[in-house]
Every structure is written in C-alpha cells, then in structure tokens.
C-alpha cells in the first residue's frame, strides 16, 4: 500500500525553509475553513472577523499581547526541553506550581518594595516550576521512567491540589463564594505598560526571557551541550558531554519558565489565583514551540500569532456564530502541518519503485 519512499534531500532550498511554517499556517486555515462551512458561515468573513478581533484596535492588540505572555513562556519551556529531546508535557502543572508559589509568598507572607518584590516572585515561581519537574527528571535519568507520562499525570495532580487549596485553606474569605486565592499585595502586582489595557510588565519579561534563552543556546557551552544531547545522547557522552547533568539543567530551566508563566498570570493579569487561571496555556506552548522550529526568538512571534488566534476566535464566535473551539482546531492543525513541513524539508517523497 502507498507506493512511495522518502529520499534524503542533499540540498534544501532556502525558499522552502521560509515557506514551510507560513505554508503550514495557511494549510491549517484552509482545512479549518471546512469546519466553518459546516457551521454555516463564510470562511473569509470569519477569518476577517478573527483578524479584526486580534489586531483591529488598540485594545484588541493589547489583549493579544497579554494573551501571548504566558504562552511565550510555556513555548520557551517546550522549546528548550524538546531541543534536548526531554519531553516535558507538564508545563500546565508547572504553571500552576508557579502560581501557587506567588500565592504563598506574595499575599502577605513576604513584603518587599516593588523593585525587589517582583523579581522575588518570579524567582519563587520559577523555582516552584523547576522543583516540580526535578523528581520526574531524576526518575527518568536514573530509573528510566518515561517523562512523557509522568509529566502529563502530574498536571492532573497539581490542578487538583490547586482546587483543594482554593476551596480549603487558601480560599480568600473576602471572595463571595468563588474559590479564589487571596490578592497579591500591591508591591507584587506587575504594572500595566499601556494605559487603559490589561497589558502588563509580564509581556516585557517574557520577551526578555526569550532573548536570554536565545543567547544561552547560541553563545554558551551549555547551549552547545543541549544541542548535542538532543541530536545523539550516546555520542555526546563519548565526546565528554555530561548528558545527565545537561538534561537536569534543561528540566530546571524548562519547568522554571513554565512556572514564570504562572507568575505573569497570577501577579499580572488576575492579581489572584483562580481555578481557571490557565485554559491550557501549558499545552498551547507545545504548539508555539513547534511553529517556531524550537527557536527562542521564533517563539516570540509564534506565541503572539497563536495568541491572536485565541483572542480573535472569541470575537469571531460572537460575530458569525462559529464555536470558539475553532481556535483549538486551528492550533492543532498547525502542529500537524508544521510536522509535515519538517519531513518535507528533510526528505523528498519519491513515488513508485517500491517492491510490495
């Protein structure tokens, strides 16, 4: 069946490299338009409404950038981990761990001036995210326990823990019946950066983090080691790369950045911890990282782009009556088409010539 084989390309046209992610996105929109037609709407009109909803006004643009803040961070978390072939699918749980750290330290336990309080909260959030991943990476390295499954399962445990804390000991008595945490003290709140919008300092911090990760990956020995471990752990070991140590550092960085996403949402967007703090930002990060080709600077753009789809889909749904889940379908399709483009970049599909 399927009479074809894959032949390694000797020469990759630069045109193809540029077109690949763009093409992946275009095909995703094209395929998703089938669902729009099924919903009885006009795809072009729907996509126009989606675009307007994401970029059509100062407020819309600010909302898109606000939404991109956590998914740039979870995107970086996935990008650095996947580069080392460490499959951290637990960014969702690590995000909540970061949010728990903010609620624990930031609601009155520690009081510092703003200039110290904000870095302190980010540090604690990153530590919480990283520490949550630490036992899992150790289990992976020393007991060969698959990290894909353990990180996924941990997401559920953490979300239940958040539920318990918010309905029990950490519940804000002032919140009328809603399970939510106490408010972060004023010194810890990330300041607004564009007046009369929700865009906050967290956005700048996520861009800065992407820059730092880019420098780390391209200019340091650690960055080189991460790359080597991802390509071939056994050969890296022979070449003297401390493989286990490198993977542990990658895990701490990855979990740390996912934890920072919890900080931006708790101390920036909402001001307190809620049960619906993250509508799947951890999982969206995987799509962000893939679309960016695991490149940290690319993550900034793909993060803003995917955020625009989520934000725009809300407006589109109101205007043309297409369920907002269309955004999730588009994002999922993007992951698959990017994957397809990666194969096409490496191989030529040659039809025929295969003996049955």
């Amino acid at each position: 069946m399927f009479d074809f084989r894959l032949e390694q390309r000797r020469f990759i046209s630069p045109w193809l490299i540029v077109f690949a992610p763009v093409g992946a996105v275009m095909f995703s929109f094209l395929v998703a338009s089938i669902l729009i037609l099924l919903a009885g709407a006009n795809p072009l009109e729907s996509y126009f409404k989606l675009f307007l909803g994401a970029f059509g006004s100062k407020n819309a643009l600010a909302e898109t950038l606000t939404r991109s803040t956590p998914i740039i961070l979870t995107g970086l978390a996935a990008a650095i981990a996947f580069r080392a072939k460490f499959w951290n699918i637990g960014a969702e749980g690590q995000l909540y761990a970061g949010a728990l750290a903010v609620t624990f330290f930031g609601t009155g336990l520690i009081e510092l001036p703003t200039l110290l309080m904000i870095p302190f909260l980010f540090l604690m959030g990153a530590l919480a995210g990283g520490l949550l991943l630490l036992p899992l990476v150790l289990l992976r390295n020393y007991y060969r326990v698959d990290e894909v499954v353990t990180t996924l399962l941990t997401n559920f445990i953490i979300v239940l823990l958040v539920g318990y804390l918010l309905e029990g000991p950490w519940k804000d008595p002032m919140a009328l019946g809603w399970p939510q945490g106490e408010s972060v003290i004023d010194e810890g709140i990330l300041p607004q950066i564009v007046s009369r919008t929700r865009l906050h300092l967290g956005f700048i911090i996520s861009i800065g983090t992407a820059m730092i990760i880019w420098l780390l990956l391209s200019k340091t020995v650690l960055g080189y080691r991460i790359k080597a471990v991802g390509i071939n752990p056994a050969a890296s070991h022979h070449a003297g790369v401390p493989v286990v140590k490198t993977v542990i550092i990658v895990a701490l960085l990855s979990g740390g950045m996912a934890g920072m996403a919890g900080v931006t949402e708790t101390a920036g967007l909402k001001g307190y911890l809620t049960l619906d703090l993250s509508p799947g930002f951890g999982y969206a990060g995987i799509a962000v990282a893939m679309l960016a080709g695991l490149h940290p600077i690319g993550v900034i753009f793909s993060g803003i782009f995917l955020a625009s789809i989520y934000v725009g889909a809300d407006a589109m749904s109101r205007a043309v009556n297409v369920p907002t889940y269309l955004a999730d379908v588009i994002v999922a399709l993007t992951v698959l088409f990017v994957l397809f483009s990666i194969v096409i970049l490496k191989f030529r599909i040659v039809f025929g010539g295969v003996k049955p």
Partner: protein
C-alpha cells in the same frame, strides 16, 4: 472502624464497580498496547478517547441504536489512527509530537462539533445507555452473580476483547508481524512483509479500540457527554501498558487492580467523611500510575523499535 474498611471488600457492589471502572481502561490499554507492540507510541489516546465518547453518544442521541453508536465511535477512532499513521509511520515524523497533535486535534474537533450540534445545551442531554443484562442462572448465584454477571453487554465486550487481542497477538501470523514490526522491522521486511502497512494497521485498530473505550464512558458508565470527561484516563492507560509489560492478559489484571483501588477509595471516602478532602482521593489514580511506572521500571523491556521510524530500503 477498621472492620468497616475490610468489609468493603466483601460487598458485591465493590466488585461490580471495579469491573465497571476497569472497562474504559481495558479498551484504551489494549489499544495503546497494540500500537506500541508495532513500534508506535500513540499519544493521541487522550483525544481519541474524547472524540470516541462524543461521537458514540452523539450518534445515539441523533437516533442511531447503541451498537451502531459503538461502531461509529470505532470508525472515527480508526480515522484518527489513520491520520496518526500517515505522520508517524509513513512520513516517519516524531511520534511524540504527532501524538500530541492528534490529541489536540481530536479533542478540539470533538468539542467543536458538540457545540455546533447542541449550541444551547447548558445541562448535558441524556441518552438511554446500555442496560445491564442478567446472565441466566449465573446471575442468581449469591455474591458472584451480582459482582460478575449483572453487567451491560458493553462490559462483556471489554472482557471478550482481551481474549481476542491475546489471541491475535500470540496466535496469528498478523500478531507475529506486529511484534516483529516493534522488535525487528528489518527482519520483517526481509520476509517480504510491508512493515509500514503492519504498523499503520496496528495504529488504526489500536485507535479504534481507544475510541470504543471513550464511548464506554458515555454509553455504559454514564449517559451524557461532558467536556473533559476522559480526565486523564488515556495517560493512565499508557502507564498501564508499561505496568503490563506490553502483555494483554497483564493489561487486564493491571486495569482491574487499578479500578479496584479506585472503587475502594470511593467507598473508603464515604467512611472517613470530610476528614480527608475529596481532591486527595481524586489524585490517587494519577499518583498510583506514577508509582506503578516506578515499580515496573526495573524490569521494563520496551519493544526495541519503539519510537524509531522505519524507512523503506534504508540500512540501519
């Protein structure tokens, strides 16, 4: 007090519940097991279960009979399996990323179509699910009758599938080629067998089973579809496959053990009351899965070619 905790084990209701809870896990674990035996990790499981739950339920809600509903769910699961196979088997793309993409796609399409077909439903509508049938004579045996022989036909189907999959894998030429595709695909190709075809069909059958596991939730265990109702069962099934050392009979045992602990904790929860918050009980299955993986880790022997794409005519 302590006696109360022991007494739970001697109620037929506990054993009946164990079997009920085990069923979706049995289907899903068998499905994942077939994929992995052929050398393909299928992380699409969570999403495929979710769309199976939606499609099976929706078909019945729109007027299909229950058995057609199960078949339609299996068919849709198979389609997503085909999509998975095109990427992971024929194109040799990363199995991790393919699976995550499939999970995202299957669940979002499921939610999208649910919202599209029932835009205004705030309380999920219900269907008439599979009803328990009492096996003649056997169901009248005290204790065992209630525990084992008063289940829905869907439950018996789960047990039959374990036997069927065991037979396919261990007693048929196709099962042998699945095992070879996962252990030594080069040798399989040398026999003149199309490795990619074997792997692709395994992923398609496996995915169909996962979708049936999802459909069990909406058509036998409950009678409605909720968002997020699969709730990590797919990931738990992946842990169970490892715990079961890729053997169908052990998968049955693992799923029953797991479901037994789950059924037990629900009953224990009623005894301790509010002393321990309910969230900690809900965490148990996820903790247990991680513990099961750690316990199994020492003796784990993954199929040798798992995660390794096979390319035709290439020397490895």
């Amino acid at each position: 007090m302590i006696l109360d905790f022991v007494e739970i084990l001697f109620t037929a209701g506990f054993w009946a519940a164990t079997i009920r809870i085990a069923c979706p896990l049995i289907f899903a674990t068998l499905g994942e097991l077939i994929c992995e035996r052929a050398g393909v990790l299928n992380l699409g499981i969570e999403g495929i279960m979710s769309i199976g739950a939606m499609v099976g339920w929706m078909s019945v809600y729109q007027g299909a009979d229950l058995y057609s509903g199960v078949l339609i769910a299996a068919f849709v699961g198979g389609l997503f399996g085909l999509l998975h196979a095109i990427f992971s088997v024929y194109l040799g793309a990363s199995q991790h990323v393919t699976g995550i993409g499939i999970t995202m796609l299957a669940s979002s399409i499921g939610f999208f179509s649910f919202k599209l077909l029932l835009p205004k439903s705030t309380t999920p509508p219900k269907i008439e699910p599979f009803q328990p049938i009492e096996v003649p004579f056997l169901s009248e045996i005290p204790f065992f009758g209630e525990a084992l022989f008063q289940h829905t036909p869907f439950t018996y189907l789960a047990i039959i599938s374990v036997i069927f999959i065991f037979w396919v894998i261990n007693r048929t030429p196709y099962g042998l080629s699945i095992k070879m595709a996962g252990e030594n695909p080069m040798a399989l190709e040398a026999q003149g067998i199309d490795v990619l075809f074997v792997r692709a069909t395994a992923v398609i059958f496996g995915s169909a089973l996962m979708a049936v596991g999802g459909a069990y939730l909406t058509m036998s265990a409950f009678d409605a579809f909720y968002f997020g109702m699969v709730n990590g069962r797919g990931w738990i099934a992946i842990a169970l496959v490892i715990f079961a050392s890729w053997k169908p009979e052990r998968a049955l045992f693992g799923a029953l053990l797991f479901a037994g602990l789950d059924a037990y904790q629900v009953r224990a929860q009623q005894l301790v009351g509010a002393m321990i918050p309910y969230q900690f009980f809900l965490m148990m299955p996820f903790f247990l899965s991680i513990v099961a993986m750690i316990l199994a880790a020492k003796n784990t022997r993954y199929p040798k070619a798992l995660l390794i794409p096979f390319r035709r005519g290439e020397r490895h």
